[in-house]
Symmetry: C2
Subunit: 134 residues, 2 copies
């Protein structure tokens, strides 16, 4: 399977909302290296391929292609081709894509708020685990 094509389909025991595996399912979709960056970058409106590439920075065209494909496949992003020469392709968040931003932003806020705590815990842990590495 190509990167960006995550399987959401699950034969696992999913019963109540917020169940572990459903969460893992979205996470597998959005938790890859680039999807969120793309989704967030599309917040301000439609963007063209190379525009996205430039703004995001550090993403290869290969991964941008795969990521956009995956998002498009899941209905989070729409792709509009204007067959001029050279061709012009615009990517835009769908309604579903925009709705995803809400919980993602929440996670982002949590991250932002707790980053110091996490880093502190990490430093403490690493100090205790490798006292010889002084």
């Amino acid at each position: 399977m190509e990167p960006g094509h995550t399987e959401v389909t699950e034969a696992q025991p999913i019963h109540r909302p917020g169940d572990c595996r459903v969460v893992g399912t979205v996470l597998a979709r959005v938790g890859d290296k680039w999807s969120i960056l793309v989704v967030m970058t599309l917040t301000d409106g439609p963007r063209r391929f190379n525009e996205l590439k430039r703004i995001i920075g550090g993403i290869s065209q290969r991964m941008l292609t795969f990521t956009l494909r995956g998002l498009e496949r899941d209905g989070l992003v729409s792709r509009t081709v204007t067959p001029t020469i050279p061709p012009r392709v615009d990517y835009e968040l769908t309604e579903l894509g925009r709705s995803l931003q809400v919980p993602v932003q929440a996670l982002g806020s949590w991250a932002f708020a707790n980053l110091p705590t996490i880093q502190a815990a990490r430093t403490r842990f690493d100090a205790g685990a490798e006292p010889d590495a002084a």
Copy 2:
């Protein structure tokens, strides 16, 4: 770097709350294959190693170890050793770990609510992309 040891430290331009890269940062932490499952499994209280392994199902002891280590390192999970023979080790969510569940649950709810939509979009996309595969 071992699995489960994600780098949260970032030299990237992080400015406003909910910024792309901060989100990516948490996602890199909890977005791996198992972390969320472990965190969610610990909701009901402390669990022992093999208990977690059994409940989660499908996880190798290697990955459970790495995942727990990573979560412990970030202060999301606490590890309590009872040096009996055989030894007993209990894992429990910390306050930070429990606070993480809130945004994660939100994401889970979104997933649960939109799974049908996503699957429909996916089916439609796959049908259009490979019309020859009939």
